[in-house]
Subunit: 92 residues, 10 copies
């Protein structure tokens, strides 16, 4: 089942740079692991913003929330989740 997720990152300016870098490094590894599993199907940068649009393919709402709330940057993000259904004109 597919979900479109928009994530906006708001890192506080007073986080020490090494800590911020460490969080981002863990975020990248976490994200790439989910991409390799096929659960995080797409990951695109929104031009000009510290934000992304992603597509997830998971089995349930609970699985998606577990994945998203486990993101190292989760405490610093706002998210919008949109469930996607099959479109009758899609050729896939």
């Amino acid at each position: 089942m597919l979900y479109l997720v928009r994530m906006d990152v708001h890192l506080p300016h007073d986080i020490p740079a090494p800590i911020a870098e460490e969080i981002k490094a863990r975020e990248k590894a976490y994200s790439q692991d989910l991409q390799r599993q096929g659960k995080w199907q797409q990951l695109h940068r929104v031009v000009g913003e510290y934000a992304n649009y992603s597509v997830f393919d998971v089995d349930s709402h609970d699985e998606l929330h577990t994945l998203l709330s486990g993101l190292p940057l989760f405490p610093y993000m706002t998210m919008q989740v949109t469930p996607l259904a099959r479109h009758p004109s899609s050729i896939r």
Copy 2:
């Protein structure tokens, strides 16, 4: 180059049903032709809404606008276009 496009359809209630059906049939053919060409890469229904999220892969803003404004339903749609860049954590 990738663009995320959200399209919301607002067909007036007083359009005669046969005309509405004819427009939708042309829309479907037009959409599937672009999908087969690889320009309209993804097409998903937003659950509960007469709306879709799509991803286009085209060479320029002008090409995208030409494709979108040629949609048979274009006069009845509102659109939001978001340019997408490569994300540094994407494995693709």
Copy 3:
């Protein structure tokens, strides 16, 4: 899987009363059938508005969209769909 859905009805004022009544009667039957099946678990009126908050329990996004888009009042509604996950403090 649970979804919270808010539905707002906007019936055009120039729909003849008998037609509006017939649509509403079909809507009621359709809704009560889904309630009896256990798919439309809750249905509440928003006080002072021609709107409701509902909870659906279905197997997939596709099933939910099929149910919602089949509502006789669907062409006259705007909807907001929110996927709900298990809350760690819930005792259920």
Copy 4:
């Protein structure tokens, strides 16, 4: 009488972790006690957000405000309260 309540939690990032954990533990106990009393009838996580949708069944506005403002996380929450009435199509 039923109320739909959406709660969004905004814990400041500079709260020491042990204090945050202690507040959350008290929140959980408080919430589960109200659930067992039948006053907090439903509690669902909004997917991807530090937020919940809840349904309360209490006797009066005053009782609801007393319950909500007593939440250990109340100073860090924004809330939207919607009174719910019986829907004429509900089979309950």
Copy 5:
């Protein structure tokens, strides 16, 4: 129990004047009857708008929705309902 209600009236411009006047006359009678019963405690015009702020004192959400949805102008109104609780600094 008290509720603050804001009502905005949007009468379509193509309603024949005699019909509009008849609806407004019934609205006035309906409103004054509820005021005399003590259920519609306050009724104020918002300056410069075809809108009002009202305070209702009723026993339940269901009673309020029944009163509001029975307004002759109800099909032409949008409403916002806010439940009000006792304020600890109020001297009443």
Copy 6:
């Protein structure tokens, strides 16, 4: 002349508790004094929020602004002020 005022309080989390309590105590005394004078006619808690809806009866905009800006909590509040006129259907 009547004004509807909505006040939302946003006390910073790092204000020491004794100072916050002292401000709130002064706020309460200030508010009750104006209520006894008949200028602050109504004061209601918005359910679930650190906010109130109030009705003031004063002689001029200047008098209202003087009263409001003198509130001990004024630096921590956002306010919306709506002037109210007599409604032609009011029986008062």
Copy 7:
């Protein structure tokens, strides 16, 4: 007492031109009469919009609402009314 009023005009496109012209002519006369009386102190066009910002100087909310609701274009306008108080830095 001063009020800032923003008025936006939304004339339906299907009003016959002679009727629209007649309404506008009455609006102009009505407006200029109030300007000459000193009650409508300022009247400015918002650049690029069928809208104006005005300042009224009247004795009460009721007087202002009577003036505004008497405008020939009132049924086709949306209005925002902001009460203005003396500013402590004003030299007037």
Copy 8:
């Protein structure tokens, strides 16, 4: 003096096609005349929308409003006008 103007066109669906075409032809001629005069310096289509962003270079607010309100499509447009000043980092 420069102004950024965003124009959104909302042509009613029931305007006969020949009349719409005639209005658009006049709009194009009007626009190109102002471009040749150097007053309408830039004109860009917003991708996916029946809208444009334009830059005007005129001597006064009054001149701009006269130009904009003279557009054949003006009755069917909403506009946002933003005055632009010289930027200290601009090399022009």
Copy 9:
């Protein structure tokens, strides 16, 4: 040329009182100087808010931006600037 400007002040709570007072004193002097020059024609307090509506009469966008950005409170303000044109019904 006239501009309507709304200014909202957001002084951080942790600015030491003497520094805040000094900024406000400079703001007042700066403002009154511009009022005496006839450039800051009107200055009104928005009732209940730490905000004002002002009218400026200057020769160009650049002059206005220079005046506004020179305000001692400018770093703590949000502003909305609306260019005003002559209204055809104005008697001035």
Copy 10:
């Protein structure tokens, strides 16, 4: 390919002045370098705001994001990016 970009700067008040000045100096140099290369075609101050409207001419979304995210002020900015296409009435 052209993009309209609006940038709003939100420098935290507690950044030491020398550091803020150093960031701004680097921002200016960075911006002027891109202007000289023809990539940052226009740069205008929004009157009354710490914001600008800019037009970029680059080859791809990726190039634009690289340029924007390299701005020394990027961590303190919010941005809105709008892709611009050729307008059929433009004479250029």
